[in-house]
């Protein structure tokens, strides 16, 4: 067995040192009736070649995004990641290390996390960022629970532009924590309506921009309305790249930002592992969930980094912790940081502008298709279009021809059968855009 170094001779000699007759004797505390007599009913071990064959045959039953025109978004965006990033995160010292609890021999991870936190602050325009959470949806839910702790209130208002998966995640987690969630009905340009739902018992308002239909909105007025009522504004972004072109949540008055950072970190991965970005105003630092990396000095006065403010966390505070979160999305955060270090503010801006340009081309091409209406008034790299018939069968039919045209809203929520979400990124070529527009036109004719 290639991953098990002990030989039978080793085992016999080690049992001699231990003074046990056999390995089963070491399992003597387990109930006899629970110890299996034989093997469980699963295949026996296999070599690399056989395992590779099995996985490759599963892979062959999928249609990868890169195999043709591709316009899916809805919270997961496909970007080109420079080759050096995946190479670097596979360095043994990054890939096979644990949480940096021993800072003297974990400065690599810690310094990268410090860079990560600074980059997240820059993108979001916020004062402090943590070392990441599981994903954007859980970051949003943690934000709601944090807002309830800060305000002592137990009501959360969710905008009708929030990704339905995010709204459902918040429902699940907040309900357990005793927070009442008021989710507004899904709408293309929903943000204007949210201020009316704020009252004196509202802990927070959760607003997404660009929203699930791609609509970008200046949320300054919502922030003001929330603050006037003593509530906090949580700004959600499911496409982190948009922050490089659009006004930052910090500029617009957000108190907490929850974003999905995976699109700049790595492949689509069928939805996970992803990267929850979480940032807040300095005032709320001690109520934040998750790990935080901070600067300090060592015994010789040299600068170094440590995990800090851990008295908020479960391993110290147990049932009084700010969250039960233990892990972060470490390696994905590292990839994110490496990519941002390659991009820099120049590359980030240019990449974001390029995405916006691709979406404009896509919107023009779709608007030119007879019977199709572009619904998104202001967008970054994603638009919603209305087809004159249900979108899901159209998408399915195009998929059979090798074109992934987008995400039908019906996949996420009822009541929008004709609406299709289409995202364009730097990976979308002009030929792809022409192909998808023609194919949709063909399917509708």
């Amino acid at each position: 067995m290639r991953y098990l170094p002990l030989t039978d001779q080793d085992r016999a000699q080690m049992l001699g040192v231990i003074g046990a007759a056999d390995i089963d004797a070491l399992f003597c505390d387990a109930p006899r009736e629970a110890l299996l007599d034989g093997l469980v009913d699963l295949p026996r071990h296999a070599g690399e070649l056989e395992v590779r064959r099995a996985l490759e045959s599963l892979a062959a039953r999928n249609r990868p995004a890169g195999a043709g025109p591709f316009f899916c978004g809805a919270g997961a965006y496909r970007h080109h990641i420079p080759s050096s990033v995946d190479h670097l995160i596979q360095r043994s010292e990054f890939l096979t290390s644990y949480t940096p609890y021993q800072p003297e021999i974990s400065q690599g991870t810690l310094q990268a996390l410090y860079e990560f936190q600074t980059q997240v602050c820059g993108l979001t325009g916020m004062d402090v960022a943590n070392a990441s959470l599981y994903d954007g949806s859980n970051a949003a839910a943690e934000g709601v629970m944090m807002a309830a702790r800060i305000t002592g209130r137990h009501k959360a208002v969710l905008s009708g532009g929030l990704h339905p998966h995010y709204a459902q995640t918040i429902q699940t987690l907040a309900k357990a924590a005793g927070i009442e969630v008021f989710a507004q009905p899904l709408a293309f340009d929903a943000e204007g309506a949210v201020a009316d739902a704020i009252d004196g018992e509202t802990a927070c308002v959760v607003v997404q921009t660009p929203n699930i239909f791609g609509t970008a909105t200046d949320i300054t007025a919502i922030a003001e309305a929330a603050h006037a009522a003593g509530a906090l504004l949580i700004c959600v972004t499911t496409e982190v790249l948009s922050l490089a072109l659009l006004k930052s949540p910090g500029e617009m008055g957000a108190d907490i930002v929850a974003a999905e950072g995976a699109s700049l970190a790595g492949p689509l991965n069928f939805g996970g592992p992803y990267l929850g970005l979480f940032a807040a105003n300095q005032t709320f630092l001690r109520q934040m969930p998750g790990r935080l990396c901070g600067q300090t000095v060592d015994a010789d006065g040299k600068r170094g980094f440590v995990l800090t403010l851990s008295t908020r966390e479960q391993h110290i505070r147990r049932e009084k912790a700010t969250s039960n979160v233990c892990t972060n999305s470490g390696l994905v955060a590292l990839a994110f940081t490496m990519h941002l270090t390659l991009l820099g503010q120049t590359g980030l801006h240019d990449l974001a502008a390029l995405n916006h340009a691709k979406a404009r081309r896509l919107a023009r091409a779709m608007a030119a298709v007879r019977g199709v209406e572009v619904l998104t008034p202001r967008f970054f790299n994603e638009i919603a279009v209305r087809l004159p018939r249900p979108a899901a069968p159209v998408v399915e039919a195009l998929a059979q021809d090798g074109i992934l045209a987008g995400v039908p809203v019906s996949r996420l929520a009822p009541g929008f059968d004709g609406v299709l979400l289409m995202a364009a990124t730097e990976t979308s070529t002009e030929a792809d855009i022409e192909t998808v527009a023609q194919a949709i036109a063909g399917a509708l004719s």
């Binding site: 045959s57 997961a76 990441s132 500029e251 015994a299 972060n328 390029l354 340009a357």
Partner: protein, 521 residues
């Protein structure tokens, strides 16, 4: 080799590191170990001049036109420097060299399970057919991925002896929450969510934190002198308000809960559910099925038992095995058979506790874990548990003559020691652990579990050779001898040879500095 034999080894009379400690390079270099600034410093002090980028993007004349975004365009600077590819690669490679890693040496963190991460798993997770897949593509175009998820669930179901597996949870603590929310939903369906979760004093901190998050009060259950759940104390606290009992088995003292079946019986008699924390499943995989012990819900950390990399702190993955009583409450999406194929059932309607995250689960981790499962098979996984237990007992046997073990008898996958053997040396558990760094090893888990004074919890895992175990034990015993010989500074000043000396964690917490800022700001 025996513990006694090692005890006769003598320290070299001249410390070979002494010269190096006194030597100074002219410019502050340390041989292969580079002093590496932050990217913000590498880019120069003035953010206004940070124009460099390490990517070449296609030029699109339309990109400059943002006229459709009036009032929405960002004016605030990003404040993020860029580096060319050679600079960026060098920066992160230099940083990597400041990390310890399982690929470098034994990493004996008890309860964390640092085992070898097979590179085949990494290669498989990167097959474009599995990685370059959007979560909301038509399901007809992702049948391979759905089948892979289904297979991971099936293997976990067979290995746990439990009928259902929920794949969505993103990490162990997320899995705990999934289990407790399913338990809450099951109680609510009978009209009373109940109020309390019982947790042993030796539990991981996530257990009480999760119970609180699920809206339950936490009541601690005492531990017996032999390191197990005090079943009399448990029975006395099992009243009609108890929703669940959370027990880690093998527990955090590295011991099997001998009364596990009785704990389940008492718990069920009280109308409560038995939550098994599966953090230590690697000790029993293929040998014991938690379902046979009466467990109703158990999360499995794929990064522990099934070798997905820890990655410096994540990402994890925490699928949850559920009993028939809890299966209807599993979070969405579910995988259901649909004609010839499989389908993701995504609607959050029905009895399901709802959705715990966007999309479907930690797919990249499922691929890695599945490659590991196929590689080991039923026979190899049983051997994993056996070798993990054998290695831990070997370490215990070699060290117990010198270090003090609070509990007699064999351990499971990890060996626990306390600090009573250090009494009078002026060396603490922390000092001893930091001195291990100088010997080239990562410290063991310290001061956990909380029920043992100055705990040192050593988990070698099954992927260590006997030679590496001996190398580690020799180092521990040599250090023990030095501690007892009064060589205090070796410990209290340790580490001496790491990239940094001991860090001031108090200052970090008192004046939190969590991001880089220009001096001017």
């Amino acid at each position: 080799m025996s513990a006694v034999g090692v005890g006769r080894q003598t320290q070299p009379e001249i410390d070979p590191t002494a010269d190096r400690l006194g030597f100074q390079s002219l410019m502050g270099g340390h041989g292969l170990q580079q002093n590496e600034p932050l990217i913000f410093e590498l880019a120069g002090d003035d953010p206004a001049l940070w124009a460099k980028t390490g990517v070449d993007l296609p030029v699109d004349p339309e990109a400059e036109d943002v006229s459709d975004l009036t009032g929405l365009v960002r004016t605030a600077p990003l404040g993020l420097p860029g580096l060319s590819e050679p600079e960026a690669v060098r920066h992160y490679v230099r940083l990597s060299q400041k990390n310890h890693a399982i690929d470098l040496a034994l990493y004996p963190l008890g309860s964390c399970t640092m085992k070898h991460n097979p590179r085949l798993n990494e290669a498989m997770a990167r097959l474009p057919g599995l990685s370059d897949i959007h979560p909301l593509q038509p399901q007809s175009t992702v049948q391979g991925s759905i089948a892979l998820m289904h297979e991971v669930g099936r293997w976990l179901s067979v290995l746990t002896g439990m009928p259902a597996v929920a794949l969505p949870p993103r990490a162990g603590a997320h899995g705990e929450l999934c289990g407790l929310l399913a338990i809450r939903a099951a109680h609510e369906a009978r009209g009373n969510a109940r109020k309390v979760v019982l947790v042993p004093t030796s539990a991981h901190g996530t257990n009480p934190a999760t119970a609180a998050l699920a809206g339950y009060g936490v009541v601690e259950v005492a531990q017996t002198v032999d390191g197990r759940v005090d079943i009399k104390d448990l029975a006395s606290k099992l009243d009609p308000e108890v929703a669940a009992v959370m027990v880690t088995n093998p527990n955090t003292c590295g011991l099997f809960e001998r009364e596990a079946i009785e704990i389940a019986r008492l718990t069920h008699t009280a109308g409560a559910y038995f939550y098994g924390d599966g953090a230590n499943f690697n000790a029993i995989v293929g040998r014991i099925r938690p379902g046979d012990l009466g467990v109703d819900a158990m999360h499995i950390n794929l990064h522990k038992t099934f070798s997905t990399p820890h990655g410096g702190g994540g990402p994890g993955a925490g699928p949850v095995a559920l009993s028939a009583a809890l299966a209807p409450y599993a979070p969405k999406p579910w995988i259901v058979a649909d004609g010839d194929g499989l389908r993701l059932e995504e609607s959050d309607a029905g009895d399901s506790l709802g959705r715990m995250a966007a999309f479907h689960g930690q797919m990249g981790m499922f691929t890695r874990a599945y490659a590991y499962m196929l590689s080991h098979g039923a026979d190899g996984l049983a051997q994993v548990a056996q070798d993990a237990v054998l290695n831990a007992n070997y370490v215990k046997a070699r060290l117990k003559g010198v270090l003090s073990a609070p509990f007699d008898g064999p351990c499971m996958h990890e060996a626990l020691f306390d600090d009573s053997w250090l009494e009078g040396t002026g060396v603490s558990t922390l000092d001893f652990a930091k001195a291990l760094i100088d010997e080239g090893f990562h410290p063991m888990t310290m001061y956990f579990p909380l029920v043992v004074h100055g705990a040192m919890l050593i988990e070698p895992t099954e992927t260590e050779s006997r030679a590496e175990l001996d190398r580690f034990c020799d180092a521990v015993l040599a250090l023990a001898q030095a501690a007892k010989a009064g060589d205090r500074a070796r410990f209290t000043q340790a580490p001496h040879l790491a990239p940094l000396r001991r860090l001031d964690e108090t200052q970090a917490a008192r004046k939190p500095q969590l991001r880089w800022m220009t001096v001017a700001r």
